[in-house]
């Protein structure tokens, strides 16, 4: 045993770094950002740069470098690095958000004047491409039916596949299924379209219809649903399954009444996101649904229209302002539809998610 001697407070060697250091005030980052933007715009204007994107990039660079230098002066290297990393995250975030926001804003600006009751309730029947009037009723109806049918096919199939993989799948078959789901995830939509075209339309002799489009959309949707559902089911703790078995509940009932309800929020979100994804698909729809300018409310017979295809057709005639306007109107409706789905998914996820804690 060594005897401990008490060392006087001030004679003790300094162990580790000091705990206090100079700190920049909290308003520094916003101030640096504002300064960088001002200087960046100044440089941009002075150099006569046309693109505002370039102005923004200069500002971002100034923000990163300026923030680092200021912080390094006052707070030291380590803090400066920390701030630099934070700034990079912010800049990356803004770079990611800018296109999204501007896309939405631009679409709303272009489309809001077009979308009205008339636009939503009329088709293009008897309307000349280069003339005014007409609407998207037939396309909206087609999209809803095609996407709805695709979801009716893909959601149960995907869900059951995921349940199989997580709850029952062992050995070769499960591995093979996982492999094919992976492959399907990477199938380009045009290939899914070609597949259905050759199988359903050419080999089996069916003609253009909304339903054959739905089949291709379902092919695109299934892997997304399987993957997201699988992840959600894996998140359900095994202890819950065991708790249920220990109460004398059979496995299928455990899955149905305990596992699926626990994961239902995430599963719904996954399905909704998959729906949102296929709603904008154009290629297979062109191939299989063909498009129409009149209302066809029967998805099982004859060509239909869909929103993405409508947008493409309206935009494909050059220098046609009426067509352009209708395209933007349809784009706005499409975006609104997808956003609506996302909101619903979030709502369901929040409403159904396991309630715990406080």
């Amino acid at each position: 045993m060594t005897t401990m001697t008490t060392v006087p407070e001030d004679a003790r060697p300094q162990v580790g770094p000091r705990l206090t250091a100079n700190r920049l005030p909290r308003w520094t980052p916003p101030a640096v950002a504002a300064g960088s933007i001002a200087v960046g715009c100044g440089i941009g204007a002075a150099a006569g740069l046309q693109s505002h994107l370039q102005w923004g990039l200069i500002s971002a660079l100034l923000f990163l470098v300026g923030g680092y230098l200021i912080s390094a002066q006052v707070e030291g290297r380590r803090q400066a690095k920390d701030r630099f990393a934070t700034s990079v995250v912010w800049v990356a975030f803004i770079l990611a958000v800018v296109p999204l926001v501007s896309l939405t804003v631009y679409t709303v600006q272009q489309g809001i004047g077009v979308v009205n009751g008339n636009f939503l309730s009329h088709s293009m029947k008897g309307v000349i491409q280069s003339g005014p009037g007409g609407g998207i009723y037939h396309a909206l109806l087609g999209t809803l039916q095609q996407v709805g049918l695709a979801t009716l096919i893909a959601a149960p199939l995907g869900l059951l596949t995921a349940v199989y993989l997580v709850e029952y799948g062992r050995g070769r078959l499960a591995k093979a299924v996982t492999f094919f789901v992976d492959v399907m995830t990477g199938v380009p939509s045009i290939v899914a379209g070609l597949f259905i075209l050759s199988l359903w339309n050419l080999a089996l002799g069916f003609s253009y219809s909304g339903f054959s489009g739905s089949l291709a959309l379902a092919i695109l949707m299934i892997p997304v649903v399987v993957r997201s559902t699988e992840e959600m089911l894996k998140l359900v703790p095994n202890e819950l399954r065991e708790a249920s078995y220990a109460l004398g509940v059979p496995k299928w009932k455990t899955i149905l009444r305990i596992v699926l309800p626990t994961a239902i929020g995430g599963i719904t979100t996954g399905v909704m996101l998959a729906v949102a994804r296929i709603t904008g698909e154009t290629a297979p729809v062109m191939m299989l649904v063909f498009g129409a300018d009149y209302i066809n409310s029967n998805p099982f017979d004859g060509p239909q229209q869909s929103l993405p295809m409508y947008i493409w057709q309206q935009y494909s005639v050059v220098n046609n302002d009426f067509g352009y306007a209708r395209a933007w109107g349809a784009a706005l409706v499409l975006i609104a539809f997808v956003m609506g789905l996302n909101l619903i998914a979030r709502g369901i996820a929040r409403w159904r998610s396991p309630k715990g804690g406080h």
Partner: protein, 258 residues
């Protein structure tokens, strides 16, 4: 309703590894039997063979016999689901169903077995929660989520859920290991009350707890790393803690182990 359990020549495997070997013992009805032994000696494994929960794990299998009042649980025509209905289980970590309210958690077993009548369920909820010493704390918030309770309350909720289906035997795997001393005491008292109706088996690492709650104590041990666990002895708790017949038991209990 309590039934006795007779185990003979029981071994359990995970894949090809044997976790426990050749265990034979009798568990008396209306009594508390404690399992003690070092970590990894197969207490949980053995406990889970008693209500056929072991085979839930992929690749796991069991050899030997478990008689519940003369009926072999491992006979080929026995339905494991029915076995688990009569032999309930409480786990080490409280695991209430997160999507369900307190009320729904308690009646989960009955509901999933098809009982729908509200008056029956109401009765069961009150009786089970009272049985689990939880009624006073939660009776005015039965519709709140079960996961919103404290750890000790959640564990008592799980006990209420297990006794709600009126099993004949209740298996508990370290039910207090995640709990504070006060919740532990509450559950120990509860075990004392429950033994008038159920056959209770409890795994514990807490010697005092084994000494306090159990009538009989079984000591498990393994010969070495990678060897299967074995039952060393089973005797009245008093004897095990005062004058065990095997030296290893005394070493383990007195902390002179390994």
């Amino acid at each position: 309703m309590a039934k006795r359990i007779d185990v003979s020549g029981l071994s359990a495997y995970y894949g090809t590894t044997k976790a426990i070997e050749d265990i034979s013992m009798s568990i008396e009805p209306r009594s508390v039997t404690a399992f003690i032994g070092p970590s990894g000696c197969g207490k949980s494994t053995f406990l889970r063979t008693l209500n056929r929960m072991h085979e839930v794990i992929p690749g796991a299998r069991v050899e030997g016999k478990v008689l519940l009042d003369d009926e072999n649980l491992y006979a080929s025509n026995v339905d494991p689901v029915a076995v688990r209905r009569s032999i309930g289980m409480v786990f080490q970590r409280p695991n209430p169903f997160p999507t369900m309210s307190i009320y729904d958690n308690v009646v989960a077993g009955l509901r999933l077995a098809g009982v729908k009548k509200k008056s029956v369920l109401d009765d069961v909820v009150e009786r089970s929660l009272k049985g689990a010493n939880l009624w006073k704390e939660v009776h005015n918030r039965l519709n709140k989520p079960g996961a919103g309770l404290s750890g000790g309350q959640q564990q008592r909720l799980c006990i209420a859920r297990a006794i709600a289906v009126e099993p004949q035997v209740l298996l508990m795997d370290e039910p207090c290991s995640a709990l504070d001393p006060i919740s532990t005491l509450a559950i120990e008292d509860l075990i004392g009350e429950l033994k008038s109706q159920f056959t209770i088996v409890i795994v514990t690492h807490n010697m005092q707890q084994a000494a306090r709650v159990s009538d009989r104590t079984a000591f498990f041990n393994l010969a070495g790393v990678g060897q299967p666990g074995k039952l060393i002895e089973l005797d009245d708790t008093q004897r095990i803690f005062s004058n065990p017949s095997v030296q290893a038991t005394e070493d383990y209990i007195s902390g002179r182990f390994g």
